[in-house]
């Protein structure tokens, strides 16, 4: 291919580049953080000897020992509740929740303690902890292994919530999250774990709590995050063949939302489609729609449209292709927006 367009998910500046999968990028990021700060701990079910069921923590226990990489009892409330105590004691725990569907036994600790301790103690207690959560569907799994629960956490004051979509962000965002003095829910797009891309290990591409325009366009804006970034970029590439120019914004941070680049984009394109795997009711996509209509009311040529998972329990996997937004559904929404 002659002079291909740079793919924003997989291309780095030609400095110190490595080609990594998302999974390996997070692994390397964790390693870098553990090397930089002896107070960084990794804890979770099967994260030690096995290296995690997705091998995200592969090799860390071997190199950092059992006191820094803890194979914990099988108890999510325990993982998160003890991480709170460890954080109070000066550690920076990185908790792994094996699949997003298993976070709910720990939900009480997250909402009642993790989210509120800084506020309740007027900042005397900081909780620099990270809760890593593989999320989303598309892997043909059984129940509780394919959900998108991020809105629950974004809805909770006191938590920060981010989602990476590509290897470079995965490598840097995990380190930035560990550096953050606030508790961070770190959502990892599990169906993109083994997608490769270039990682520039010399400099982070952007601050943690910022969104990023991955593709510029003029006809409509797609806003998305996590596993749907790849889907949206593919849709934009397909639209280009039909002569339509779509801008794609990767939110990266779900709480706080960094919507400045989205407003700027929508003021130019006049049309917005929000794409998420998560269901639509009372969600991050609702929040974006509300804020964009408030900030860009006179620029909008069409209502904000959403392409999301349905407001049903995640279906048996033979139906997940119908449940999950795909290129066709995204382009269908773009068509509707343009035809408004």
């Amino acid at each position: 291919m002659a002079a291909p367009t740079m793919d924003p998910l997989t291309s780095a500046t030609p400095a110190a580049k490595q080609t990594l999968t998302v999974a390996k990028a997070i692994n390397n990021g964790l390693r870098a953080a553990m090397e930089a700060d002896p107070k960084v701990l990794v804890m979770g079910e099967d994260v030690g000897k096995l290296g995690g069921v997705f091998r995200i923590t592969d090799g860390l226990q071997k190199d950092f020992g059992e006191q820094r990489v803890l194979d914990t009892p099988l108890s999510e409330s325990g993982i998160i509740g003890t991480a709170v105590g460890l954080a109070i004691r000066g550690y920076r725990p990185v908790c792994e929740i094996q699949f997003e569907g298993f976070i709910f036994p720990g939900f009480d600790q997250i909402v009642s303690q993790v989210a509120k301790l800084h506020f309740r103690t007027q900042g005397r207690i900081k909780l620099p902890m990270v809760i890593r959560v593989p999320f989303g569907g598309g892997i043909g799994a059984v129940e509780h292994h394919s959900e998108s629960p991020e809105s629950y956490f974004a809805h909770t004051a006191g938590l920060k919530v981010v989602a990476c979509s590509n290897p470079a962000d995965a490598y840097w965002m995990i380190q930035q999250a560990i550096d953050s003095d606030d508790p961070v829910l770190f959502f990892e797009p599990k169906r993109r774990y083994y997608e490769k891309g270039e990682v520039d290990t010399t400099a982070a591409p952007a601050p943690l709590y910022s969104s990023r325009v991955l593709r510029t366009g003029t006809d409509a804006t797609l806003v998305t995050y996590g596993p749907m970034v790849r889907t949206s970029l593919d849709a934009a590439a397909a639209a280009e063949e039909e002569g339509r120019s779509l801008e794609v914004v990767d939110l990266r941070s779900l709480s706080p939302l960094d919507l400045g680049p989205v407003y700027e984009s929508v003021r130019r394109t006049g049309r917005l489609v929000v794409v998420t795997e998560a269901p639509s009711e009372s969600s991050i996509s609702s929040e974006i729609a509300a804020k964009v209509q408030q900030e860009c009311f006179y620029s909008l040529e069409a209502p904000v449209l959403r392409v999301t998972g349905f407001d049903t329990p995640y279906p048996p996997s033979k139906l997940e292709e119908d449940f999950l937004p795909d290129l066709d559904r995204v382009l269908h929404a773009v068509d509707r927006s343009l035809a408004w």
Partner: protein, 398 residues
């Protein structure tokens, strides 16, 4: 070796309670992944097929009954291996093997009466069999066509629960209801509930809360913990200092460790425990000491975390082989019987293969059906919009 009692209640000369970490011997006696069940293990049939007596638990078993248990175990193992093979061929997304746990599940399952209730985790294919659920009915959730197709009310067998430990509280509540309904006591229609979970689950808050609730309400609930030694990659020592059956004491009810590879002992202890519960003496914890002979699931690779020596040791304790030896020794079964069981097993496997590859994909509207008991106009509108969109592809390239 000092008993665990000593480390929870140290005498004047004993070690302080704060130094209660178990010794290596204590760990080997019942905590670390091991094939040694310890002195308290209830066993009625040794791995060599010798019938032994136990002072508290025994069972009168007829030749016909034992042949039935043997047949159950062979068939559920064959079904398990077939499902595992179907996953390897790409016909199932995942399989959760029960290999090695046949005696624990058949012993417990056959102790249940029709009006008893059972709450499984997700590995209880043998218990499902005993509740009249065909292996084919389990395939859909692992092929991704449904979330479990049996009728939990008709079979008195709850849907599989994947979130670890959740079902234990649900079972406690169900058993409370049995008691509130007056189904506990001497009457012939008395009922009990049995709840299945694993060694890993014993760390979950829901399981501890289930212990508390069932105890406080004297619920007719048998907690049936299959300690298969491994919670994915973590041996039982990552979950407990104390052998698991001893936990019951702290909650105020009996805990019994049974040889989970001995179908006679499991049946005897389960029958006793269920009857105690029906009489109003519940709850009771049974720890079935067994071994997960295969991977956690077909996605797991046990060679990364456990030694094959351990597997070899447990192969000598196979739950099926010891029954076969005993049946032969007693002259309770002949070649024709064993051949007929093998033939039945093969038929079962053929039936599963045919059923599995012909399972139709569910229609897209299944997503939107039965989400609520009552009407939900918001969801109905979503469904209609989706179906209209979907219909737009009819005959097209979608």
């Amino acid at each position: 070796m000092s008993s665990p009692e000593k480390w929870t209640h140290p005498g004047p000369d004993g070690p302080p309670a704060t130094a209660a970490a178990p010794t290596a011997e204590q760990v080997i006696a019942g905590l670390k992944a091991t094939d040694e069940g310890g002195a308290d293990l209830v066993q009625l049939l040794t791995p060599e097929g010798e019938r032994v007596q136990h002072p508290d638990f025994d069972i009168d078993i007829s030749a016909e009954e034992l042949r039935g248990l043997y047949r159950d175990m062979v068939l559920v193992r064959r079904a398990d291996r077939e499902a595992n093979a179907l996953q390897r061929k790409g016909e199932l997304g995942l399989w959760v093997p029960l290999l090695g746990q046949e005696a624990a599940q058949i012993g417990a399952g056959r102790a249940l009466r029709p009006m008893d209730m059972a709450f499984p985790s997700y590995r209880e294919h043998g218990v499902a069999w005993c509740r009249g659920i065909q292996p084919t009915e389990i395939l859909g959730m692992f092929r991704g066509t449904d979330n479990g197709s049996w009728d939990p009310v008709e079979h008195r067998f709850h849907p599989y629960t994947i979130v670890i430990g959740n079902q234990v509280l649900n079972a406690a509540g169900y058993a409370m209801g049995q008691k509130f309904d007056g189904k506990v006591g001497d009457d012939a229609d008395s009922e009990a509930t049995m709840c299945f979970f694993g060694d890993g689950a014993t760390s979950q808050g829901d399981v501890h809360e289930g212990f508390v609730w069932a105890a406080v309400y004297d619920a007719p609930l048998v907690f049936f913990c299959q300690n298969n030694q491994w919670a994915i990659s973590e041996p039982t020592e990552r979950q407990s200092r104390l052998p698991l059956y001893q936990r019951a004491r702290g909650y105020g009810f009996p805990g019994i460790r049974v040889d989970g590879n001995d179908v006679l002992a499991t049946l005897a202890v389960s029958r006793w425990a269920l009857e105690e519960c029906r009489q109003g003496n519940g709850p009771i914890l049974i720890e079935a000491f067994t071994y997960r002979m295969d991977a956690h699931t077909t996605s797991d690779d046990p060679s990364r975390y456990r030694l094959s020596d351990e597997l070899e040791l447990w192969k000598l304790k196979d739950p099926i082989e010891r029954v076969k030896v005993y049946l032969v020794k007693q002259q309770w079964a002949d070649h024709a019987f064993f051949d007929s069981v093998e033939a039945d097993a093969e038929q079962l496997a053929i039936g599963m293969r045919d059923y599995c590859v012909n399972l139709p994909d569910p229609p897209a509207e299944r997503m939107f059906s039965q989400v609520y008991a009552e009407a939900n106009p918001v969801l109905d509108a979503q469904r209609d919009e989706f179906l209209a969109y979907h219909a737009g592809f009819a005959g097209g390239e979608h």
